[in-house]
Symmetry: C2
Subunit: 203 residues, 2 copies
């Protein structure tokens, strides 16, 4: 979402079926909160399709890649590797160092979000093992807080390109605009999904 360096989110490990929704939410959160790209394990084609579909409708740029070589991606990454884990150093103590590393010209950032087991080598390769609290909660929550702090809120003002539709913020109600024709399709007075989990991939 910014010039120069790229922020890539890597979902490490995926169990088809069981992890579909979590992996989809990792990808959609990466997109919504300012990452440039998400890399999913090769067996996560369902979540990849959902994330691409959301990007087609709500805009980008945002890339989704399916890759088999998760270990090699981490090992060979040219840039700073952050591994989100409840065992890591508190985000509030390391975030400024991470931002500093990231601001160096052409130093990309790889944010690794563990699913199932992650190899010990990941802890060792990571430049930063980071805990958003040292409590067990959710990899999606950890990623969201991490990105919001990395970008210091700037991701919330991002402009989207090539969107079919755009949500117009409202105090009460739902307003969605056709971004191409600028035709407004307002929905009000109807029950409906609350929204943030709208791209579940299991609708």
């Amino acid at each position: 979402m910014h010039e120069g360096s790229e922020v890539v989110v890597l979902r490490y490990g995926h169990r088809p079926g069981r992890d579909d929704r979590m992996t989809t939410h990792v990808g959609l959160t990466a997109r919504a909160l300012g990452a440039d790209r998400v890399i999913l394990p090769e067996n996560a084609s369902g979540p990849a399709e959902t994330i691409r579909d959301i990007t087609d409708r709500f805009g980008g740029p945002f890339e989704v890649e399916l890759r088999a070589d998760q270990k090699a991606i981490v090992r060979k990454f040219e840039g700073t590797v952050v591994h989100l884990t409840m065992y890591g150093e508190p985000i509030q103590t390391v975030e400024s160092s991470i931002r500093e590393a990231f601001r160096r010209p052409a130093d990309d950032l790889l944010v690794v979000v563990g699913g199932e087991k992650v190899p010990w080598a990941l802890y060792e390769r990571a430049d930063f093992n980071v805990g958003v609290t040292n409590q067990p909660h959710s990899e999606v929550a950890g990623l969201a807080v991490f990105l919001d702090r990395l970008f210091e809120g700037a991701e919330l003002d991002r402009e989207w390109v090539d969107a079919d539709r755009r949500v117009v913020p409202m105090a009460t109600g739902k307003r969605v605009i056709d971004a191409e024709a600028e035709v407004e399709t307002e929905k009000a007075g109807k029950d409906g999904a609350s929204g943030h989990g709208g791209g579940d991939g299991d609708r």
Copy 2:
């Protein structure tokens, strides 16, 4: 996690089986990021059990309630009601007003996190309909960013009471201490779960 007013997270709607993990992650995120209590729909007993188990092991105080009367809870809530929705006003523009309302003595805060369909009355009853971006992503991500901003990061320094175990932050490695006996059980050099999604309820 703070004196005076209480922050309550309400998970609106739950489909057993299908939503178990998301509802569990909503509850664990509420706990880890500073809420005092989560209210789940009556049919979410599995997630409730997992969240209570994590609280028993990693500390509190944090309460989990199962309630059938979601609509009535919202309608009758004495305090400020925030509804997280991608159709709402941007968090960055309303967060200071929400903090101000919350700081009034004895003004509790109810944070409603939609799952499946939410009734139109919720949009109308809410004092604030809030979007963490106006993009579809994840209710867990929205809740996490909302709480981190509400508490302005203070939730990350929270102390936990009555924990059996405590994670000691490390730059590389995993260290878990028996919080009662202060006996250290260090794990290093082994592969293992990355952590943040450790309380999945479907291990």
